[in-house]
Symmetry: C2
Subunit: 337 residues, 2 copies
């Protein structure tokens, strides 16, 4: 009885390709990488390509970058907090822009360690650059990454970190914009809706602080209003509205603003008569309810810009860290304020 040999499909290496093509591994490498310093005959070239295709050969990225001593990988830890669609679009742009500059963008799931701890995990991948959303890294972490060969570390968040480039996104500007507007409209007792959900403090704290800053030195008062994102919570807040004595409210974003506005209207509170309402992020949603919602439109830089910054930094790792303020906030006045 014949023994049936089950062919375990071992991953083909360049050695396999060389053997099948009847050439050396070196030649295979030359051909597949189109090395210009070496001239290979057309017939050999064909044989190698043929063999590679036949075996379904795919080069081993790790081996390659190990040999090369560097990679073209840009690492971007995925933010732990859900961020808006604006930000997703920015990320998409960024990815294709970096792709155009021949980098490979890899997002790394941040389940597990945090902060400088996480930086060690990132460093194991030996990325050429790291883009850190939020401020979830310290100077220590930056140092670890640089030691591991990262030629650029860029933070996208509220504050700069020593040794890293920074795209500062100062959300106090958003609150300040709203606050200034409400004051100009003659409002003096301003409530600020802050999400009851955990995890959004990174954005909500600064937005609240921005309103406070706008009110500073005036006779206006600012009241913090925590609000979970449920109809019940909104109704409950609306029910005790008269006792709060507020004539304006700035909500964390349009969603919270609409939730509250609806509840206020159901409770008989007039908008903008009794209370002016301003949201943020300029979602379509805000144009559907009546009155239409005034909002703070937030602008992010183009992904192309950031991609170019990364590329510059990679090419000149010694250069001074670039620190740039990139968050634009403009008020879009509609009917609610």
């Amino acid at each position: 009885m014949p023994t049936v040999m089950v062919q375990i499909p071992n991953t083909p290496t360049s050695t396999d390709v060389a053997r099948l093509a009847g050439v050396s591994r070196a030649t295979v490498s030359y051909v597949l990488n189109n090395t210009s310093a070496v001239r290979i005959s057309e017939s050999t070239r064909r044989r190698v390509h043929e063999a590679a295709r036949e075996l379904g050969y795919v080069p081993h990225a790790a081996a390659r970058s190990l040999r090369a001593g560097h990679s073209r990988t840009v690492l971007m830890p995925t933010p732990t907090i859900p961020v808006g669609s604006l930000y997703s679009r920015f990320l998409g742009e960024l990815q294709s822009a970096l792709g155009g500059l021949d980098y490979t963008v890899v997002q790394y799931g941040t389940a597990g360690p945090r902060g400088d701890e996480a930086a060690r995990a990132w460093a194991e991948l030996r990325p050429v650059a790291v883009l850190v959303p939020g401020a979830d890294i310290g100077p220590q972490g930056v140092a670890v990454l640089k030691r591991a060969g990262a030629r650029a570390v860029v933070t996208l968040g509220p504050r700069r970190v020593d040794g890293a480039h920074a795209l500062l996104m100062d959300h106090t500007a958003v609150g300040h914009c709203a606050g200034t507007h409400l004051l100009a409209r003659g409002r003096r007792r301003i409530g600020v809706v802050v999400p009851g959900e955990a995890g959004l403090e990174v954005f909500s704290r600064p937005r609240l602080a921005g309103v406070r800053r706008a009110a500073h030195g005036t006779d206006a008062a600012v009241t913090e209003l925590p609000l979970p994102y449920t109809e019940e919570a909104a109704a409950e807040l609306a029910a005790r509205w008269p006792r709060l004595g507020l004539d304006a409210v700035f909500a964390y974003n349009d969603e919270y603003a609409m939730l509250l506005m609806r509840a206020l209207q159901d409770e008989g509170v007039g908008v903008p008569g009794d209370v002016a309402v301003v949201g943020a992020d300029d979602l379509m949603l805000g144009r559907l309810l009546r009155p239409r919602l005034s909002t703070v439109r937030v602008e992010l830089p183009s992904g192309q810009d950031l991609a170019e910054l990364v590329d510059r930094a990679v090419r000149d790792p010694g250069g001074d860290p670039e620190v740039r303020e990139v968050l634009g906030a403009t008020l879009v006045r509609r009917a609610s304020s």
Copy 2:
């Protein structure tokens, strides 16, 4: 004149650690990996840790997995289309669940090649498993990945692919659910709003087809209504509403539903009197306008479930591909239908 030596901070390797600790590289490896097969004296252990810390040593993941012959990397190409918050939550869950099983989840930016072409790029990273959102891969691509050592390929999308496990998300179920409901409410001329934006066809086509299927064999008629996501487009559609002669509409999702409903109301069309409206995805938004929007709630599997499927598949790569229908659709009736 003394020469100033600029110390270029070369990335420390295990050799550096060994030298500083006065031991061999083997010992360093044993200590840092807590190899249980070998007993190392407490003092050596301390010296090694000390040296590693002092140098800021971080192991080289590529070298390690090259040596090991396999990785614990689960690769997930990032979807090219913007997907809902439901899906983002699912991804988050999935990441931490896989993290708990000691896998490293890496999202890979899909700017550039598509389909089986892209599969080659993914294969270069030698992931142990690949999770492909959408159906952007064919049997060829699956084969390439398996050749490259992937022990599991899982598609998350509308149809299965030969050789890969499949989490089938059949969006016709969503449309079918809405259609059945509208028919039961006595409606017979059903419009279906389809996003005017490109890229969402993957979801919108099946949802439309689902309504058609529900209407099949009845005397009801289904009309496709393309609608870009702008107020102007909605107003324009609402203006020619009377001529369409429809008594019901199912919109791609709650956002499009609300946009249209608002425009219809502005035009004097009564909801649900003149026309019943049903959305999808059960967004909070749907509860804010009046009448409250009926919607199809979509349920995805838990990230934990998928993580376990991946783990099973990795442990038993020979097993039959699992194919599972995972998209649940239930109608949430509110006031608009």
